[in-house]
Symmetry: C2
Subunit: 281 residues, 2 copies
């Protein structure tokens, strides 16, 4: 954040570890603030996350009860997520793993393309990111539907789908939402893309499906991050692992959200993208 | 083609190898007709390719001089090409190869995302497929420009580009168009996507860039197809090989073009998507 737009904004900025006067701090920007930091700042008027998800911030035991919380919603973030998800969906649609395996054996064998009319994607989460992913899939002629907690049972939505994209916010209500029932509803040879926050896919249930060769997975988020070096996902033939890189905002994008939210809070308005503590996002 | 729409159309259909009366054949649908077949059909009023490229048909030594030629232009074909090209472009944009290599070593290391403002794609070929690819890239916020033979020097267009997508028709004028001069104009770490017809990328020149680790390639078409099992591309760490599957039309899509072209030719009109023999497409 050191070189970010925030530094050139109208407010002085201190980094953690620098010397500051706690009474001067009115805004804290953090992904996961160290325990005790927030209660040490008596004049906070804004808490702000560093990305779209604020679950780590909300989980802090010393979270002040009455300070408004903002999060980052940026075109750039949604666009990165769209690119990340599309890369995996299109690779699955065009049998990328099959052809990569054939390349290792120098085998020139052409398979019929997947029937796009029967290729359906379900996007779990219909917020800024889920909405952008749905629009991008539709524009490419790929059938896609959104699912959120207001919709019916997840297993019904997933029935026969070829791809499940998990982009839900991390809340107690979404924890483990993609469990055995939901996973078994997916079509044979379907792909699970986890790219929001860890904890929503039941990793043990998913592993059973991967082991059976029935599903494959493109996993960017995990129960434990970093994924431990001895974790089976690293070397599973049906799992692609990336280190939580789907949508990481540029510091300037964070700064723009923070500066605008500070201006709004100074006018006694809510932050630009206010967090509802009860919903968790 | 046996089960295609063509069989249920208004005209009797014979497959090669079946018994037919040569005088009855007015339309030949072929990718690369066996030598002597065309001259054996005295009443041809239409020759029709099985895909977008008709180079193999035009190269036949017994090609009749005055029979109109049609080719397949189908939404489905362009869409498949868009999906194929986007899968490779997005994988490159999001450093898919880097993260796949890290997965093999169980390494959780996050790299800064590529700067999308500096990520430029050049699409060689601005026909139905090239145009569809350009539109899809633009819709995803990825800077893309088309190049064709009416544009200026190819090396100028490619200067500093991060991806070159080769979708030109196969004609004498496009043979070897992506040679040393054009390849060296590309940015370091750029990707070459060959997905139209073989012969347009100078494979020896490309191999030198791959060996140097300066470029990588996603190759679907080759000088020799099938790619021989001992070819270095199969096992090159910077080459992805697919067996010419980018855009293979469904037989029904071919049949729709053929039936419509037959109807047009019967009315003394040109085929639906007429081939200009001089241009080669």
């Amino acid at each position: 954040m050191k070189d970010a737009l925030l530094r050139t904004g109208p407010h002085p900025v201190w980094l953690l570890g620098e010397e500051y006067d706690a009474a001067h701090i009115t805004c804290l920007v953090a992904y996961k603030p160290p325990a005790g930091l927030m209660v040490s700042l008596p004049n906070l008027s804004l808490l702000h996350g560093t990305g779209a998800g604020v679950d780590a911030l909300l989980a802090a035991p010393d979270l002040p009860a009455d300070v408004p919380i903002g999060r980052v919603i940026a075109l750039e973030l949604s666009r990165m997520m769209v690119h990340h998800v599309l890369a995996s969906v299109l690779r699955h649609l065009r049998r990328g793993e099959t052809y990569a395996a054939q390349q290792r054996e120098a085998r020139w064998v052409r398979h019929p393309p997947r029937d796009i009319a029967a290729f359906r994607v379900v996007v779990l989460g219909t917020g800024a990111m889920g909405g952008a992913v749905l629009a991008a899939l539709g524009a490419l002629g790929i059938s896609a539907q959104g699912w959120n907690r207001a919709a019916g049972p997840l297993a019904d939505a997933l029935h026969g789908a070829m791809v499940a994209v998990v982009l839900l916010p991390a809340t107690p209500a979404t924890r483990g939402v993609l469990g055995t029932t939901a996973l078994t509803a997916l079509a044979d040879d379907a792909l699970v893309i986890a790219a929001g926050r860890g904890g929503q896919v039941d990793e043990a249930a998913l592993l059973r499906e991967l082991d059976a060769g029935r599903l494959s997975a493109a996993l960017d988020v995990f129960d434990a991050e970093p994924l431990p070096p001895d974790h089976i996902f690293w070397r599973h033939p049906h799992a692609q692992v990336t280190p939580h890189i789907a949508a990481a905002p540029h510091p300037d994008a964070v700064a723009r959200c923070v500066l605008e939210s500070m201006a709004r809070v100074a006018r006694d308005e809510p932050p630009l993208h206010p967090v509802d503590r009860a919903r968790g996002y």
